[in-house]
């Protein structure tokens, strides 16, 4: 008899989702796929498990890596068959990132996203709502570039602690 508590095969959807906390976002390795809000559900039928995943950015190269890692993690936990089902609707939003995930991003040096609801189309020449610096908390920051090391992040700099930082853009 396998015991989920010692790493045996998960028996319920909640246990499967818990097991997926070992799968990190390859581009932001402090946050796992559950905290990222892309795991939409799971069903277990004996040795077969189906996980529903909603992709983040349309062109995100991490999507395929994440799918492979989910498969690997669940096979390692004793499943014979792992089905990763892509769910396109409703579309993923950064609003689904869990509060603990946001705090991990901030500690890692990435300012977490604000609400995705409204994005001002032109900020040039207008006082933009500053993104707080993840290092010192100051709001005396400016956006240096709309696109950073990945499509989901922009580049900012802090005028208080003079550090550059990235911001996970609201989407």
């Amino acid at each position: 008899m396998v015991d989920a508590a010692v790493g045996g095969r998960p028996q319920t959807a909640a246990e499967v989702i818990d097991a997926l906390r070992s799968v990190k976002d390859p581009e932001v390795p402090v946050i796992d796929v559950v905290e990222l809000g892309i795991v939409r559900g799971a069903t277990v039928e004996g040795g077969r498990v189906t996980v529903s995943v909603t992709p983040t950015y349309s062109g995100c190269p991490a999507t395929q890596v994440i799918e492979r890692e989910i498969r690997r993690a669940l096979v390692a936990r004793g499943f014979e068959e792992v089905v990763v089902n892509t769910v396109l609707f409703p579309a993923w939003t950064t609003d689904w990132i869990a509060p603990e995930g946001r705090e991990k991003l901030r500690v890692y040096g990435i300012a977490p996203p604000g609400p995705a609801a409204e994005l001002e189309l032109v900020q040039l020449g207008r006082p933009a709502k500053a993104v707080p610096c993840p290092w010192c908390g100051s709001s005396n920051t400016t956006r240096e570039s709309e696109f950073g090391s990945t499509a989901c992040k922009s580049i900012h700099s802090c005028h208080s602690c003079h550090q550059p930082f990235e911001h996970f853009k609201p989407l």
């Binding site: 349309s58 609707f89 240096e144 696109f147 950073g148 853009k169 989407l171």
Partner: protein
């Protein structure tokens, strides 16, 4: 005749594949590092959107074609993109002006599938719409900087606008495909796309101190597979590896 929704998906998928490829030509050639990265990221978004749309098109068609098959194994006359998307990248002003005119249109046009009744398409369009708002903001800010910048940047931005304007009319043409997808409920086709786009574009170009050309918006044919000489050359480069080594993986 292919199913209207398949045809519709090819159109909006090919727009993004072709424009994404054109923008990707800046990779390693951007005027500054941040712009190099920004254009590569915009390309990534557009090509990602194209992949989702073309995969869905292939699924609906049901003949085993996926996004890769559709991207690499069709010839120019089978592409359905706007002609504006295939024009060479030009200078930085031309690339940004095109992105601005296209993104301002996409910002309104994508509301159609978002409000429709096809779930997967709604999801793809909703995500694309959000990504597009960043593209629109980025391009809008550059149009203002260049138009209201130095004499040289103003000259280039106005020249880009003058050259692109005749190609914009194609974005607003509607035909049997639009009527059919509207009838089946997959897309809500708006009749007022052009005046809304014109109002948004006029406002921004005014802030950029640029003059809207009076030339007619006359270039058309991309939706029917009629393209400029530039698309064939672009596809030759884009498709050569896939066609030389069919089925290759790495």
């Amino acid at each position: 005749m292919p199913a209207p929704l398949f045809e519709y998906l090819l159109r909006i998928g090919d727009d993004r594949l072709v424009l994404g490829h054109r923008n990707s030509e800046w990779c390693g050639h951007g005027p500054i590092l941040e712009e190099d990265i920004a254009l590569a990221n915009i390309s990534l978004d557009l090509i990602g959107q194209a992949q989702l749309l073309l995969n869905l098109a292939g699924q609906l068609e049901g003949q085993g074609r996926d996004a890769d098959t559709l991207a690499y194994w069709r010839d120019d006359v089978q592409f359905r993109n706007l002609q504006m998307a295939e024009l060479p990248k030009g200078d930085f002003a031309f690339t940004m002006m095109r992105q601005f005119l296209f993104s301002a249109w996409a910002n309104l046009q994508l509301e159609g599938p978002i409000q429709g009744n096809h779930e997967d398409l709604k999801g793809i369009a909703a995500k694309a719409h959000k990504e597009n708002r960043y593209h629109l903001r980025h391009a809008s800010e550059w149009v203002i900087r260049m138009g209201d910048g130095t004499e040289e940047s103003h000259r280039r931005a106005q020249a880009a606008l003058d050259e692109l304007w005749p190609w914009t009319g194609e974005m607003f043409q509607q035909d049997d495909v639009d009527r059919a997808v509207a009838e089946q409920g997959a897309v809500v086709v708006a009749a007022d796309l052009e005046p809304r786009w014109r109002a948004a574009v006029t406002d921004l170009l005014g802030r950029a101190r640029l003059t809207i050309p009076t030339a007619p918006m006359r270039m058309t044919g991309g939706r029917k597979g009629r393209h400029t000489e530039y698309l064939g050359r672009m596809l030759a480069e884009m498709q050569i590896v896939a066609r030389s080594h069919p089925g290759a993986t790495w």
